[in-house]
Amino acid sequence: MSSTTPTAPSVAPKPGTRTIRIRVKRCEGPGKPERWEEFTLQVSAGDGTNVIAALQRIAAKPVTVEGKNTIPVAWDSGCLEEVCGACTMVVNGKVRQSCSALMDTIAPNEGDVVTLEPMSKFPVIRDLVVDRSRVFHNLKRVKAWVPVDGTYDLGAGPKESPETQETRYVLSTCMSCGCCLEACPQFTKQENPETWDSAFLGAHAISQARLFNMHGTGKQLEKERLEALAGPGGVDDCGNAQNCVKVCPKRIPLTESIGAMGRAVTIHAVKKLFTLR
């Protein structure tokens, strides 16, 4: 378990309200042109306004900075506490969950601008909403599950040391948000689902393969997972840019996972070589 905790964001102690500007990259649907729209918003220090609250306020009064009535912005959200991954977008050029993007931190001064863009590695559905089906599809490629014999009562699972549990727990907090994919130079946008199976899996899926290979019963599919990681779009496609680990909101040691799986794939390949008939 990580021993580092983030330092508290410095909340601007500025009294009174301030006006900030929200610039949103808009797009009415796939193939439609993109355009920017700007809104102004009054916020005050310590009021807890985040990107979601800002979008909610804009939806209730969808008027641009030019005074033009417009259509409310479309966006994705869910839990609003950074455990579901839904509200991921690019905020001021950085991919993150927008629910935890507090205005006091990202736009502390009068006139500050906040830009909101959809993730660029996935097809845009509308405005800030993207289609991340491929993230879940890639979990199938690495068989990210424990192959239990059904749900009948067969007693407890394997015993586990606290150390292994702590390692697995961190890996298991991956919410499939896609931050690591947005930041990865090797992971490119694939509009056509037919190319998904040969395109790069991405850090999250590699890390999930490691998670399940660590489990007593999950191990039974180890070889199949390593085959998937050895194939096209597998662990070899990682360019070692190490951006993934920097943007992961759950601080999952993704590069460690990639390293571990890279070694496992090599060992698996060598073993295979010596068992060839």
Binding site: T5, I52, E81, V83, I125, W145, P147, T173, F212
Partner: protein, 683 residues
Amino acid sequence: MAVTGAQKRVIVVGGGLAGLAGTVRLVESGLKVDLFSVVPVKRSHSVCAQGGINACNEVARQQGYSEYEHFDETIYGGDFLADQHPVLEMANWAPKIIDLLDRMGVPFNRTSEGYRDLRLFGGSLFKRTHFAGATTGQQLLYAMDEQVRRHEAAGDVTKYEHWEFLSPIIHDGRCVGIVAQDIRTMQIRAFRAEAVVMATGGCGLIYGKSTNSVMCNGAAAARCYREGAYYANAEMIQVHPTAIPGADKLRLMSESARGEGGRVWVPAIKRADGTWGPHPRSGQDPKSIPDNERYYFLEEKYPKYGNIVPRDIATREIFDICVNQGMGVGNQNQVYLDLTHRDKDYLQRKLEGILEIYEKFVGEDPYTTPMRIFPAVHYSMGGLWTKFVKGTYNPPKPLPKHVSGKRAPINAEVGQGMAYGDPANAMTNIDGLYAFGEVNFAYHGANRLGANALLSCIFDGLFCGVGVANYVRDGAPSKAPSKDLPQGAYDGAVERETARMKKLISAVDLGKAADEATNPYVIGRELGVEMTEACTVVRTGPRLEQCLQRLGDLRARYNRLTLADAGGWTNQSLSYARALGDMLDLSDAVARGALERKESRGAHYRPDYKDRNDAEFMKTTLARRESDGSAHVEFIPIDASLVEPTARTYGKKDDSKPAPTPPTPGSTGVPSRPVPTTVGSGV
């Protein structure tokens, strides 16, 4: 075990823990499942559950605990409102469910020897809560999500993610499918099924801000209610004592913080007569307040349970301290939840997930500074009314309350509480329409105990899922499969939903987008404020009557609302506006139930009727929707054949209930102090 034809299909609506557990069980019974969800199922609200999942375990058992005591605690915790047999069965299944989750790879925290670790939780004196850090719900959901993905890869589950449930299709009194809309393409279509399982969670969004996720608006349940399903115990809304106020939602601070030693206090000065009064430096650096000027009011009033009294009690006490006694920290609606006396390493291992949330959203370090928290709307004990069939344990008369740690009168054999595999279990009053998880009103009575929600979700999926499979095999679908039913039944339902949508779309007027009187988001915000003021911690007759009248006003405005988006593509304004009508229906059921229930029980506190009244109200509140959207409420008897009701005091020293002042009816919809703005209210 049911084995059914491979082509028979069941629809599950909702991909949280209950929906996914049900899906897995149905697939294992040989059925194909079509799984509908407005969000990718992995992002369902179950991820927000933090503290853990209760079950009798070997350590507690050897200390005298039993499944039966878990059952008894749940009934007592729910203030004797729940039907008792289903609760018994659920408690009996709990250890099996933990084992199953363990096999599925849930990273439960471990002891040094490698066994599953346990923590203390509200309403129990035994450690019986299993946990994975402080994100147990997320970890359980992921385990089920992984199993469903496995079945999806094998072709047994078809996911319809980003599809919104619009209506059940009822033909000859039986549910034979659903109408749903793809919320990207906006296509509306009908789906045939032999049975439909609703697993759509709670309705916190009717309160505007709550601890719930944005999709927890209750619309799916309300649409079944509109089509004739009964809605039960609507007024039983849990207000969680500890949440972090926020601009867009109120973020949960898990009960596990108290289970792991967190202490609730306010700065206060002890008077000569032993009572406490406001502290002059309250709100300043909490570390500067000496221990004898800290009022640990829960520990003082409830020496036996201390900080882990059940939620409704802790909530009322915190409310009382802040609103009536003016002793909130800095005279605001907040109290301290203090973990700073615990070792940081220990806290990181057990609670990092939730402490991180506090740090991120408040900007203060909870390891060194006490957290500031206040109650927030959290869980709906009520939901769609469902049936059950009693099991084999039927004592000649109800037993007295179980003495903690004493030998249980029965063992935990399967089928003593509910008849295993019976198709009627968890079925609504409409044949073939089931309700699992939070949307099922069963189990939690008038107050849910912490860490029992995850349990009830999985229990419904596993236990009641078998009944659904048996219904498909032996019930009406075996004689008249949905594929043989007339197309007209399905087309008609699609036409009705299309007409509803067209009516809303015809209200698009970009020029009036900013008109607050008819903007759906503004109406929704005002609904939240109204419900928060009238229907949370303290409820009075006059205020509830005023609330019902205001709901009528809001409905009138809703009927002439204007949308700002006519788009035929990913039209979120349309989805929101449609759901708002359903939220108004449910709000009416909540307020009317609260008005008619002239007693105080669990989460429902009426200062004008302070006592529990078993003779008249130890009954289920049953709401049926009238054609104008208002609720018709009646009370029906419950099954209380296992345990005698007793006074629910949790060993309180002074037996008088805290008596928060009722909010006086105001003249506007804007909350007037001292009504807590942080219990809920609009965005």
